[in-house]
């Protein structure tokens, strides 16, 4: 069957047409260097090959082994390489033609249409689309559409246009390869001979196929080629691989060609092909574990033409089959549908499916609406390509090429699928096989599985670069106490016992007592707050004691200060000295300032209250300036006090004025504070 759909468009060119070229090496004594035996062997192989090659029809399969032997002995003969290429183009391994044809062209460049066409074919079959197109474009129609008596190539403009179209289809289809695995079914199924026509049970547990290996009922080779007669083999899936295939044997396999066609979905009926009556379809039924003798499907299906492949509808009522009968056909082989139990004629599936070229290998999916088939038409990339069409509302959809790499520039036929549609099986001739055509399993991976990428974002600015947002309460203005705290203990100077004394707070400027306090009767402690901005006179007094005066002249800007001033009150005794801290003079002068008034009045009162009291008013200075001047100033200041008192009613006799200058310091003059203490006015009790 396989040779039946190999459409020959090439005819043998004359050996004489192979033009000798300077670089081409002829089969001569010179080439073989006197090795007569080798030359003899080479010429013998060459003649044997030529005999088969020149036969009518040409027997390329028989010629090729001889040519290859001769080429081993002389690889550089252009004509021989060209013939080998031609033979391969007519074999089941067409793609192997290319290196021989290219070698021939290199040895003896030719610019004839035949050479370009054959090179184009070899390039085409190797999917070298662009190069093939160039070669096809250099070729021109030959032979006037008929085969010439000398076997010259017949090539029409339509043929060339079709090849160009196929190459362009191939370019497009290869740009978008379908995602499949195409796996060789392995040595358990495939042999070194051609194996093809797989049919598989719905569950993929059983595989039957056609093989041209030895071991069938007919031990002879098919004279048409170098293979044995077609026989049917069967294998079963064992989980990871197929069990070694075995011939079905009689009654299915006979001495003639017996080939698989279809397996019913239930696996109980097998359609087989035999080469009777131009090629007919028969049905074998499974009886237990054995297949029965194939029965002819009858004349409604089989004609005297070639019925080659078929497929049951899922319900078994219909048969889709292929025939090349001219009646009702659209050109070449067409696909028909017939109701098996009916009486009507087979129905051509129409222009949607069938083309002017060949259709083959029909297979109906178990869904009853998806049909796979092979076609040389539509957008085939060369030879038969596998297509898919679906039946919707009685209309077949536009056939869809299954694409690269399922389809190739050569014939891709007899495609069947598992019920799941996950796998397909078909035969193909491609590098890496067991030999000849092999059965391959196609695993459909479906559309590309989109890789999934991950991404994260930093969408919140503050999370990425936090900004301090602390709301602090502001600083507060410290209520700075512009106050002087005067505190201490009032005691009896003699006994050191605490005294409850009266403390007068006097505004010297106003000559006014602004507050009066008392020290604690038990502890003698006192505390007086003196806000800044006042010249204070502090007078501590107790009956029976001489008053004690202190001065605190606190300017308004004076900051907080705390002064501890213990006050030992002295009793009125002769010889006691009291410093009058609140008597003030202008600088360098002996003129009493108004702020002295309160102190002077207290002194006056003391003298009034104590009529027998006599005092010496003493003036003191620091050591700044000349001693004489200091003495004079101190004398005059003492006298000023005396004068005040006498002017206010105190008898002059009770008073004396003495100026001591800087002779009686009470503190070192080295410091400002010391000098201030030394500048003083005091009185001493001289009598009471």
């Amino acid at each position: 069957m396989i040779r039946a759909f190999t459409r020959s468009v090439l005819l043998l060119g004359s050996l004489a047409a192979a033009t000798a070229h300077a670089q081409s090496v002829e089969f001569t004594k010179e080439k073989f260097g006197g090795d007569k035996d080798a030359l003899k062997d080479a010429l013998r192989e060459l003649r044997a090959g030529d005999d088969a090659y020149a036969a009518d029809p040409a027997n390329y399969g028989a010629a090729l082994p001889h040519f290859l032997q001769a080429q081993q002995l002389n690889p550089d003969n252009a004509a021989l390489n060209s013939k080998i290429g031609d033979c391969y183009l007519h074999s089941g391994t067409k793609a192997l033609a290319l290196p021989y044809l290219q070698r021939a062209q290199a040895l003896a460049p030719a610019d004839d249409s035949r050479t370009h066409y054959l090179l184009g074919r070899a390039l085409h079959l190797n999917a070298k689309w662009a190069e093939a197109i160039k070669e096809y474009q250099r070729a021109t129609p030959m032979g006037g559409g008929k085969r010439a008596a000398d076997g010259a190539l017949t090539l029409t403009a339509d043929d060339l246009a079709r090849r160009l179209r196929e190459c362009r289809n191939g370019q497009e289809l290869q740009k978008h390869p379908v995602r499949v695995f195409v796996d060789n079914a392995g040595p358990e199924v495939n042999s070194t001979f051609s194996d093809y026509g797989p049919v598989v049970s719905a569950d993929e547990a059983t595989l039957l196929f056609t093989s041209r290996r030895p071991g069938g009922p007919n031990a002879k080779k098919d004279p048409d080629g170098d293979s044995y007669y077609e026989d049917i083999y069967q294998t079963a899936w064992q989980g990871k691989r197929w069990r070694p295939a075995a011939s079905l044997g009689a009654p299915v396999d006979t001495e003639g060609h017996d080939a698989t066609v279809a397996l019913a979905p239930d696996g109980q009926r097998l359609l087989v092909y035999d080469d009777e009556n131009g090629g007919d379809l028969n049905e074998s039924n499974l009886k237990g574990a054995a297949w029965g003798k194939p029965l002819h499907l009858g004349n409604r299906v089989n004609t005297r033409y070639h019925e080659s492949s078929a497929s049951y509808s899922p319900d078994g009522r219909y048969l889709y089959f292929v025939s090349d009968k001219p009646e009702g056909g659209r050109g070449g082989r067409d696909i028909y549908k017939i109701e098996l139990e009916g009486k009507g004629p087979a129905e051509n599936l129409g222009a949607a499916i069938n083309t002017p070229y060949g259709e083959e290998g029909v297979f109906m999916m178990p869904d009853g609406r998806t049909m796979y088939f092979s076609s040389e038409g539509h957008n085939s990339m060369g030879g038969y390509d596998i297509f898919k069409s679906t039946l919707t509302n009685g209309q077949w959809s536009a056939p869809e090429n299954l694409g690269w790499p399922i389809n190739t520039p050569d014939d891709d036929v007899f495609f069947v699928t598992s019920a799941s549609g996950r796998h397909g099986y078909y035969s193909s001739d491609r590098p890496g096989g067991q030999g000849g055509k092999d059965i391959y399993r196609v695993t459909f991976l479906g559309p590309e599985k989109a890789p999934v990428l991950s991404e994260e974002s930093q969408l919140l600015a503050s999370r990425l670069a936090p900004v301090a947002q602390t709301l602090l309460s502001p600083p507060v203005a410290v209520a700075t106490a512009r106050v002087t705290i005067l505190k201490g203990t009032v005691t009896d100077d003699a006994t050191h016992q605490p005294l409850e004394a009266t403390i007068d707070l006097v505004d010297n400027k106003l000559n006014q007592v602004i507050a009066t306090f008392h020290s604690n009767a038990t502890s003698g402690k006192y505390l007086v707050s003196l806000p800044s901005g006042t010249n204070y006179g502090i007078v501590v007094r107790q009956e029976g004691y001489l008053f004690h005066s202190e001065n605190f002249d606190l300017p308004a800007e004076a900051a907080y200060a705390e002064v501890i001033k213990d006050v030992p009150l002295k009793k009125l005794e002769v010889g006691v000295v009291i410093v009058l801290n609140n008597i003030f003079f202008d600088t360098g002068k002996a003129i009493l300032r108004p702020e002295s008034t309160a102190e002077l009045e207290r002194l006056q009162k003391l003298l009034t209250d104590q009529p027998t009291l006599r005092l010496e008013m003493a003036g003191h200075t620091d050591n700044v300036g000349k001693p004489a001047a200091n003495q004079d100033l101190s004398q005059r200041r003492a006298q000023a006090v005396v004068t005040y008192l006498t002017q206010h009613g105190v008898a002059a006799a009770r008073l004396a004025a003495a100026g001591y200058g800087d002779t009686r310091p009470v503190a070192p003059n080295a410091t400002k504070a010391g000098r201030q203490l030394n500048r003083r006015t005091e009185f001493k009790v001289t009598g009471k």
């Binding site: 479906g446 890789p451 602390t470 410290v478 700075t480 106490a481 705290i485 507050a515 020290s519």
Partner: protein, 367 residues
């Protein structure tokens, strides 16, 4: 006005002293300290602020403690001590101090805001959100309260509410770059991509150093199909900051979208060089290697991503794809199922289409 009270009080006393003489002193009330309590509190408070500004938080805390010992009703000292405790990450104590501050100064928005921050830092989102709300009730013009509440709502996935808050923030402060940025992000999540691009652009205009805006604008531009603009933004970002594996990974993704697989591969390489523990970069490199049909490398990279993150569904999915192409059908099925178990339901679809055990096989699409 509290700071004026001591002066006023002193003034009154001084006036009384002058006007109502003679007065009797309470002479035994001499204190050990030479400063009145109020004055001591204020000085300590100010010292606390100075220490806080110098980020010497422990000293600040001591100062505020001193202020409050001297003046237990000193609300600003409570507030600032709370801020100090917040800085010291003692969140419960910070909240307690803000509570006290609010008792003394009810309705003070700053105290609500501070307490909200303390709650937020402590992970108490609802309380934080409530306090930001209270702060806004007290002072709707305080933009950070709008912003911070928006951030919390964004993180809860309440993008519309977040966007409303960021609206409030930009109304309160039209120069608030972060608010524009994050409003853009809310718009991004709400699929308002043109608005997102606009806000990111505004944020960048206000603060050109806000580089994440470039990354995020790029993300928005990718969604609007402005791939060239997005790539430019990624380039601009990486020109200024070339040590961010995330940015390289995201630009790699953009290049992947642009079918620049070699460029994407280079970016993922760089991201991995910068951070070999960045699982996303490993996974994404696996993805681009799938595109380049480097299935063994894709398998290895996805495996590394899964070593770094064993719950990484996407990496399982990608490794399943790689293993399918490496003809490791059983392993691919396991990975797809695992991806589905981790939340990527499409894993089950792939497993079913591939005829994995336990899955109903389907006719592959397109066949």
């Amino acid at each position: 006005m509290p700071r004026t009270i001591p002066l006023l009080a002193w003034g009154l006393c001084a006036g009384a002293l002058l006007c109502a003489a003679p007065a009797r002193a309470q002479v035994d009330s001499v204190r050990a300290s030479t400063l009145p309590g109020r004055q001591l509190a204020e000085k300590a408070y100010n010292a606390g602020l100075a220490n806080y500004s110098a980020q010497n938080y422990s000293a600040a805390l001591a100062s505020f403690n001193q202020a409050l010992a001297a003046k237990p009703d000193f609300a600003p000292a409570f507030a600032n001590r709370a801020a100090t405790r917040l800085a010291l990450k003692n969140y419960p104590a910070a909240v307690a101090d803000y509570d006290q501050a609010l008792k003394l100064e009810p309705g003070a928005y700053a105290h609500y805001f501070g307490r909200a921050q303390a709650h937020e830092a402590a992970g108490e989102g609802p309380a934080a959100e409530a306090d930001y709300g209270a702060a806004l009730q007290a002072n709707a013009a305080y933009a950070p309260a709008w912003y911070n509440r928006g951030v919390l709502r964004f993180e809860k996935g309440e993008y519309q509410a977040a966007r409303d808050d960021f609206d409030g923030a930009v109304k309160a402060d039209p120069n608030y770059a972060y608010a524009y940025h994050d409003r853009a992000s809310a718009n991004l999540e709400l699929a308002n991509w043109p608005a997102a691009v606009q806000d990111y652009t505004k944020a960048l205009a206000l603060q050109p150093t806000l580089l994440p805006a470039l990354l995020n604008r790029a993300a928005a531009e990718r969604r609007t199909g402005q791939l060239p603009e997005a790539l430019r933004d990624y380039d601009a970002y990486l020109t200024q900051k070339a040590d961010n594996p995330l940015a390289f990974t995201n630009r790699g993704n953009a290049r992947f979208e642009n079918k620049d697989y070699a460029g994407a591969l280079a970016d993922f390489d760089r991201a991995i060089t910068l951070d070999a523990k960045y699982a996303y970069a490993w996974n994404n490199r696996a993805a681009v290697e799938l595109k380049l049909e480097h299935y063994a490398k894709a398998n290895a990279d996805a495996t590394e991503a899964l070593r770094l993150n064993p719950k990484y569904a996407e990496a399982y999915l990608n490794r399943g794809h790689a293993r399918e192409m490496l003809r490791q059908a059983d392993e691919a099925c396991q990975d797809w199922h695992q991806a589905a178990a981790l939340g990527l339901a499409v894993g089950n679809d792939y497993a079913a289409a591939a005829g994995c055990a336990g899955d109903a096989a389907e006719v592959p699409a397109g066949k």
